[in-house]
């Protein structure tokens, strides 16, 4: 397992002078699972968007160190996988086309032949999330649960050291939830996992829980 340190330092976010959260600080190490909870509107999604680089904080900073080297925030996307209800796939493309496209844009095609050697991994992920049989169908024909499964496949394609999930089990059936649990267990073995959720079953996998209503972190009781 690579030594990874993910730290948030005094994060604050305001929208139109309304403070969403303030003074959020924590440090995570490899093998850690961190949960963010709080009632609706408490800023869970805003916080994970900041952690993955989609939003800038009003104050504070994110620092990521992998194997002793600080990761430049411009290329943090290479180290992060993110699953959220508001992330959409390209509906005019099929599931496998979406994953192939993401792999190419991410630069997973390796020289000298620029072969798409990640396609095997993409197909394996589609099998794992049980959408392999529909891989050539346009995403617009998928159900919401299938789209959620495809988002997981897209987030795991580049084997990220840091995985972030916002409401990971939304729209998923029992089988899909079980697959998510296996992803959580695997991510714990080789990286860091951050989950924003209100599901008690998801929270129990966390080592540390940040409740944005209470604005404090606590060690998980489980």
């Amino acid at each position: 397992m690579k030594p990874i340190i993910f730290s948030a330092e005094s994060l604050k976010k305001e929208f139109n002078r309304r403070v969403i959260f303030d003074s959020v600080s924590f440090t995570l190490h490899e093998g850690g699972v961190f949960a963010v909870t709080g009632r609706n509107g408490s800023g869970k999604s805003t916080l994970v968007k900041i952690l993955c680089g989609l939003l800038s904080p009003t104050k504070g900073a994110i620092r990521v160190t992998i194997e002793g080297k600080e990761v430049n925030m411009d290329v943090l996307f290479r180290r992060i996988g993110f699953i959220a209800p508001y992330l959409n796939m390209y509906e005019e493309f099929s599931g496998i086309e979406n994953l192939t496209l993401f792999g190419k844009i991410r630069g997973l095609s390796k020289p000298p032949l620029e072969q798409n050697n990640f396609v095997g991994d993409a197909e394996e992920l589609l099998r794992r999330f049980n959408i392999f049989d529909r891989r050539h169908d346009e995403v617009r024909t998928y159900s919401s649960g299938m789209k959620q499964r495809l988002k997981f496949a897209a987030a795991l394609l580049h084997r990220p050291e840091i995985l972030m999930m916002d409401e990971p089990t939304s729209n998923l059936d029992e089988e899909g939830i079980a697959t998510v649990r296996s992803v959580i267990a695997e991510q714990r073995k080789h990286g860091i996992l951050i989950i924003a959720t209100n599901e008690k079953d998801d929270v129990k996998y966390a080592d540390t829980v940040l409740n944005l209503d209470e604005r404090k972190t606590r060690k998980s009781s489980s």
Binding site: V75, F77, N88, Y90, E92, K104, I105, A154
Partner: protein, 224 residues
């Protein structure tokens, strides 16, 4: 440089395939070209109109045709909720270059079509120096694509996208439009190629400045 260009090429190919499948911008652009050309033909009729006016009308058609479709490259990402996905898989500069190249191919193809149809349908518009005319179309397309791409990125984040695009574009594109109109007029007056070099230098400078500023500012526009 390859770290920017390789993803940019795939983003360009993604947009091209998406456009072929959805006809998101193409149909709007083509419909506008046909409608605008028909309106010009009806309104001009048998009137004797000077070539300087016809040169201006050509670029009015090109400008408003571009306005009807060039913003789609960023607006469609926002409307479909895929801009966050794109942010998570590539650098901002790669996205900008990919979208810029897509807009250039789109506007250049469209301008070629408009230029050919305009010469065929408007009898009094006769190009005497084709080298100036086609160079103006090429450089004008580069300049239009460069400014329209960054403006599209800005307005895609706004609520009033449709109205804001031409309003914001007009002052930024005014120096470019005046230059291409003048260069087109020179091509219809039979001027030597060297006489249009000043216009070409302006168009190249405009494109370089706008692309440079876009690269410097794009990550601020794209991220929040």
């Amino acid at each position: 440089m390859k770290i920017f260009t390789a993803p940019a090429i795939y983003i360009f190919l993604k947009d091209s395939h998406s456009e072929i499948r959805t006809r998101y911008a193409l149909n709007a652009l083509l419909m506008f070209v046909v409608t605008a050309l028909a309106l010009v033909l009806f309104s001009v009729g048998n009137e004797v109109v000077g070539t300087d006016v016809l040169s201006g009308i050509l670029w009015v058609i090109i400008f408003f045709s571009g306005m009807s479709g060039l913003s789609r490259t960023f607006v469609s990402e926002e409307e479909r909720g895929t801009s966050a996905t794109l942010q998570l898989i590539s650098r901002p500069t790669s996205v900008l270059l990919g979208k810029l190249f897509f807009n250039f191919v789109l506007i250049f193809s469209l301008n070629m079509l408009i230029a050919v149809l305009y010469q065929l349908l408007v009898n009094r518009f006769v190009v005497l120096t084709p080298s100036i005319f086609w160079m103006t179309i090429f450089l004008g397309s580069c300049a239009l694509a460069s400014s329209s791409t960054i403006i599209a990125a800005i307005i895609a984040k706004a609520n009033t996208r449709g109205t804001l695009y031409p309003v914001l574009s007009f002052p930024i594109m005014l120096p470019l439009l005046l230059t291409v109109m003048n260069a087109t007029r020179l091509s219809t007056e039979g001027a030597a190629f060297a006489e249009a070099l000043g216009e070409f230098q302006i168009l190249i400078s405009y494109t370089v400045v706008v692309v440079t500023i876009s690269i410097l500012l794009f990550s601020f526009v794209w991220k929040d």
